[in-house]
Subunit: 348 residues, 2 copies
Amino acid sequence: MTVTIKDIAKIAGVSHATVSRSLNDSPLVAEKTKKRIKELADNLGFEFNANARSLSTNKTGTVCAIFPQKFGEFGASLYYISLLNQLRTSLEEEGIDLIVSFPKSSKTGESNIKRLIISKKVDGIIIIHPRLEKIDGQIINFMELSKIPYIFLHHYSSFYEENLADSIYTDHFYGGYNATDYLIKLGHKKIMCITSVGNSYEFEQRLNGYKAALNQNNIPVDENLILFGYRDIASGYNLVRDNIKSITDKGVTAIFAHTDLMAIGAMEALKEFNIKVPDDVSIVGYDDIELAEDFKPALTTIHQPREEIALLGCKRIVEMINGKKIKNKINIVLQTRLVVRESTKQIK
Amino acid sequence: MTVTIKDIAKIAGVSHATVSRSLNDSPLVAEKTKKRIKELADNLGFEFNANARSLSTNKTGTVCAIFPQKFGEFGASLYYISLLNQLRTSLEEEGIDLIVSFPKSSKTGESNIKRLIISKKVDGIIIIHPRLEKIDGQIINFMELSKIPYIFLHHYSSFYEENLADSIYTDHFYGGYNATDYLIKLGHKKIMCITSVGNSYEFEQRLNGYKAALNQNNIPVDENLILFGYRDIASGYNLVRDNIKSITDKGVTAIFAHTDLMAIGAMEALKEFNIKVPDDVSIVGYDDIELAEDFKPALTTIHQPREEIALLGCKRIVEMINGKKIKNKINIVLQTRLVVRESTKQIK
DNA sequence: CAAAAATTTGTACACGTGTACAGAGATATT
DNA sequence: AATATCTCTGTACACGTGTACAAATTTTTG
C-alpha cells in the first residue's frame, strides 16, 4: 500500500540504508545513486513515515501552542487570532506542524503540556500567557528537566531573571505612556482611563505608563478617572455610561481605553449621550485589532507587533529545536507604535 | 531518562508484553497484576511513547483541521474562530490532538493534506471549506484511496451524491428566507440585499432564500436592490454609502446584509446620512458573531449553529476513526435561527 | 489425583526509519 | 603489481510498542 524505503530499496536494487541516506542527503552516498533514488522516491510519491522517523530520531516536526484560557472569549480571540495565524505561517515555512491547545484551566493546560512532552509528540512548546500569576513554577521545572525547547510569548517572565525561561513581549508601559502623552500633546488634560481588572501584567504596565505620562507633564493623577472593567465592548460601554457624570462634570476631553474593544464600547456610549468623537472627546484604544481601522470613526490606537512576536518566537524555538547551544535565555521586548486615525483631535 | 514499558516490566518482574496488555486494559491479564502494573506506571509518571505506538497501531490520536484561505482575513477569522474553539474542545474530550493548517492556497492546502496522510501523522482530516468550486476532485480521490476518515464542515459537497464525502453544513437558503420573511412580516416591502461576490455556495443560497421570500409574499424582486461586495465592514459601509440615493429615492426601509460585518458597516454609513436604525431603516445581519450582541443597536441576525457543527463533525470523525463501518456518507443540514435584537422594527 | 480446560504469562517478531560498524570496490601510491 | 587509502554500500541492531503463538500456570472435571 504505502511506499516505504524498503520498497524503494528493492526496486532500486540497493539496501534500505542507502535509500535512507540518499533521501536524507547524506554525503556518504555517491551522487549518481542519490539522484536516482531521489527521483524514484519522487515518482512513487514517497513520504517518510513520521512515526517511525520520530521514534528513531526523537524529532517530530511538530510544536504545540498553548493559548490562554480566555482565548475563547470574544475580545481575546479577536486579539490572539492574528498571533495564531502568523505563528502558523512562520512554522509552515520551517516545515513544522502546529498542534493547538486552548485549555479550559491552567491545570488541564499543564497536564496537556506534560503529556505532549512525555509522549514525545512535539519538539517544542510555545506558551501564550499574558498573565503572570497563573504560571506554575512546577511546569517550568518540568520543561527544564525534560530539556524541551519552550518559549513564552506575550508574557513577561519573572523566570527570566533566574535564566530559566525565554520570553518575548511588548512594552506595555511605553504603550500606555505613548498613548497618554499623545493626548496631552493634543492639549488634553482631563484624560479618563478605562482598563481591565485582574492581576494582568500588561494592563498594570499600561496603567503605569498612563500615570507616568501625566506626571511627566505635571498633570495630577485623578484616581476617580481610572475605571476598571473587562476587556470587551460591553464593559467599555458600561463604564462610560455609568460614569457619564464624571465625564461631563469634570470636563473629561479624552479617554484612553486599554483595549480597542473597550474603546468601541465607550464610543457607543458617548454617542447615546450625544457626545461626539473626536470633536467633544478624543479616544485612544490599544491593540490595533483589524476592527479598529474599519470602525467609524477609525480608531487611534497603540499597535502591538503581533506578527513580529510570532516571527521571533518561531525563529527562536526553531533554533532551539535544531540544537543551537543556548547559553542564556532571552527576553525580547518589542516596541509598540501609535497609529493615529480619526478618533483623536487637537483640543479646541 | 524517560520511562518505557520495558522499564516498568523490569521493575515489576514481568515481561513487557504483560505491561503493554495491562496498560491497554486487555482481558488477558489477571486483574491483580493489571492493577499493580497500572499503579506502578502511575507512580512513575509513565506515558506511552506516541510515536512507537503510532508506528505499531497506525493510530496517532491526532486529527488535522484545514481552514479556508480566507481564515486570516478579518471577517473570516472572526467567523471561524468559534468553530475552531469548539472543535478543539470536542476533540479534547476524546483525547485527540488537533493540528491546524491555514493554507496560503488550495495547492498548499492539498499538499499539506497529502503529506499528513502519507506520513501517517493524523487519523483524520476535517476540511472547513465554504466554497464549492475550489475543491479539487483529485484530493478527494486521494483521501478515498488512502481510506483516511475525512469530513467537510460548512460546505455543501456535490460529492455527496456520489456517496463520496461526508458533509455538515447549515441551511443558507432557509436562513436567507427567514431573515427576509421576518422583515416582510414587519411590514417592509423595499428590502435591499447586500451580499458577497464570488461563487460561494453559502451566499448564493442566502440570496435565493431572499428572493424566494419576496416571491412568496408577492413582492417583485428588484435587481437594483441587490448589491455585491465583500464580507467585511468596509464593504458594507461602501455599498450603502455609494448607493444611498437608491435607498432614499426608492424608499428602502430595510437592509438584509449577508454578514454581520457588512451589517455593521451599513449601519455606520446610514448614521452618516442621519438615517436611524431601526427607526428609519431596519437591518438584519447573518452569522451572529459575538460582536452582533455587543454592538449598538444590537444586531438582529441569523444565527449559525457553529458549535453544533463542530460537535457533530467531531462525533462523526471519531466514529470513523474508531472503525465504525460506514455504509453511506452523511449530509447533515443544520437549521439556522433568527435572533431578534434591536436593529429591526415594525414599519411605521 | 490425573487429565483436560481455562487462564495467564512470555518469547519472538513486526511496524519504518536511522546509523555504527564492517566490508567491498575503486582509486591512488609505491 | 601489490599495497594503502578512500569512497561507497550493506548488515545488523536500535528506537518503544502491540500481538500471534507457544508455553506455563492455575482451575475444573471426571
